[in-house]
Symmetry: C2
Subunit: 355 residues, 2 copies
């Protein structure tokens, strides 16, 4: 391994690349990682020397706080390569600021911009061969932070590890997604951590989602935990409803994640002349719209799948299959967004940032 | 290191003990660990060879699911040593069954009884020198399980690690505990994971608790997230209120942990002839009881502190200091319970189990 110092980041290069072992034609989402990772530790009240080094397991004490008290947050981003082999990020400022919003809510230190964004840029430059051209292809980026301080006492840790790992992905095809509307289980409390990208929010969803899977549904549409009358998120995504030609989505809140794809789709839809209403959508309203045939589409929105169309929903043991329609807004918006992300279309919004 | 096989558990002994480096007179809770730990991995759908080995850091992949999706649960227990040097556990069956209840809710595999309890027994026998005699002295036991499968996709892991680590503790003295009643933040949702000892539940409390600390309060009394009118837990403990000579505590629910100390205190109080009501206690009722001077005591109950008296509470920016009284139920029950746990009194309930 050769060690060099580049603008304060220590870089330890992997002696050989694993890239030739990877079949980029059949990637399973998030399961293969690139040659290097970025790492920076927080100790004694400050961020330490950042390092880029070969992707490898690392040592943790059995009493590390992340295992016992769950201080762990993450982000999901993607890097794209255009026809000129230039590498692009999509709205990285949004992920950076949300990461620190999550950090504050979980009583973790905020990560400085030069560590997060400069670290990411240099890591992407080193592993740029892992980013493939073409629509749907991307390098999925996973920045995350965990509590590494030791001791089994329920207080915030005084040591943390921030890391960025990279996973090549191709177009995410979720297939036919049927959902069930939550009538009992919930993903977030009022005054809770639903708006943070906190690890614990995801584990909480697995059991109810397994129950839904057994009944033949791929995902759950989460409702507010107090009344189960308001539609909030779909699985791990934000959710949109099209009633007639209006798109509806819930406002972000303490219970609802401020999704980057969500806010991007809102802007994109409005620029396409689509009427978008940001307001609480009631379960009763959805059922009513289904009955009077004004409910045209439901789709999830998130970084991994971009847009994920939902084919029908179950509520109070009744399944409502949406009619198949042509020219869906889901496909229109997904195509528009992917073309901007992959630099196949112009980006009048200034969302894409060159690495 | 010598390797021997004892009733299916592989035992790798530490070459030397760290015990002489430990000052048992000034222990900081949960910060020192004994010579050995118990470990058992879950892979390919089954539990693997259990091992007792020297306490040491272990390797994890950066994409381990525990870091990203928070599948992590734990228990808190204690082992005690009596005057004859016999070692005792307190209601270990309760912790064992609650551990598996947590596992189910977090979509993790249940741990078989012979792995959990037999593993614990053998670990305690090996590290029995770490258990000191005398009231308040104990070996704190931390069984925990984390998701070790790799891949950044929000699905349950297919690999897990179950561990038990041990930390010597002395009497836990919390000092003067003033609390603030939660009016905005919450620890649990209806249909959420508040009843599970899930790591993520604890991290969620740190930020609001830090805010309370800054205002001069040590802990928060959590209320229901939907209305903030019902008193539910105090910090990481269950909570009891004494109005006149009646003890009140909330029923366990999806939002409230089924605490072993809680249920023990209920039985112990009743056996002492104290009237105990298990029902929702309203914030308004507490304020009213304070005003008409029928509110005598508030205390938390948990494994670490056993009983933690609360000296006053703040609600809607008004601080209510409880009058100092003699012969508190908190002290009466704590003494009774610690005497049973440390085998200084008879145990007519059959709660103590010899290792």
């Amino acid at each position: 391994m050769s060690t060099t110092q580049t603008s304060k980041i220590e870089i330890i290069k992997a002696p050989t690349s694993k890239i030739n072992e990877v079949d980029f034609k059949s990637l399973s989402f998030g399961s293969v990682f690139s040659d290097h990772l970025f790492e920076c530790d927080f100790k004694n009240g400050e961020w330490q020397q950042p390092v880029i080094k070969p992707y490898a397991p690392f040592l943790l004490d059995p009493s590390s706080r992340v295992f016992h008290y769950g201080q762990a947050i993450f982000e999901g981003m993607k890097a794209y390569k255009d026809e000129n082999n230039d590498v692009w990020l999509f709205r990285p400022d949004q992920n950076y600021s949300r990461f620190n919003t999550s950090a504050v809510r979980m009583a973790m230190p905020e990560v400085p911009e030069d560590i997060f964004l400069n670290g990411l840029n240099q890591l992407l430059q080193l592993d740029e061969a892992w980013i493939k051209k073409g629509k749907g292809n991307a390098l999925y980026i996973r920045p995350f932070m965990i509590a590494t301080g030791t001791g089994v006492i329920a207080n915030p840790s005084n040591e943390y590890k921030f890391m960025i790992i990279l996973s090549p992905v191709s177009s995410y095809y979720s297939g036919d997604v049927k959902v069930i509307i939550a009538e009992h289980y919930s993903r977030a409390a009022n005054g809770g951590i639903g708006a943070a990208k906190a690890a614990g929010n995801y584990a909480a969803q697995f059991y109810p989602t397994n129950l839904a899977n057994k009944e033949g549904f791929q995902q759950i549409i989460w409702t507010d935990d107090a009344t189960h009358t308001k539609l909030e998120e779909a699985g791990t995504m934000n959710v949109f409803f099209r009633i007639n030609d209006t798109l509806l989505t819930a406002p972000v809140s303490e219970r609802i994640l401020d999704g980057v794809t969500r806010k991007t789709l809102i802007d994109l839809a409005r620029s396409e002349g689509i009427n978008v209403e940001i307001r609480s959508v009631l379960v009763s309203e959805l059922v009513e719209a289904f009955k009077n045939e004004t409910l045209k589409e439901i789709f999830g929105a998130g970084t991994a799948a971009v847009v994920s169309p939902i084919s029908g929903f179950s509520y109070q043991d009744v399944y409502h299959e949406l009619p198949k329609i042509e020219n869906t807004m889901a496909l229109q918006l997904k195509t528009k967004l992917e073309n901007i992300q992959n630099k196949l279309d112009a980006d009048p919004f200034g969302w894409t940032v060159k690495v």
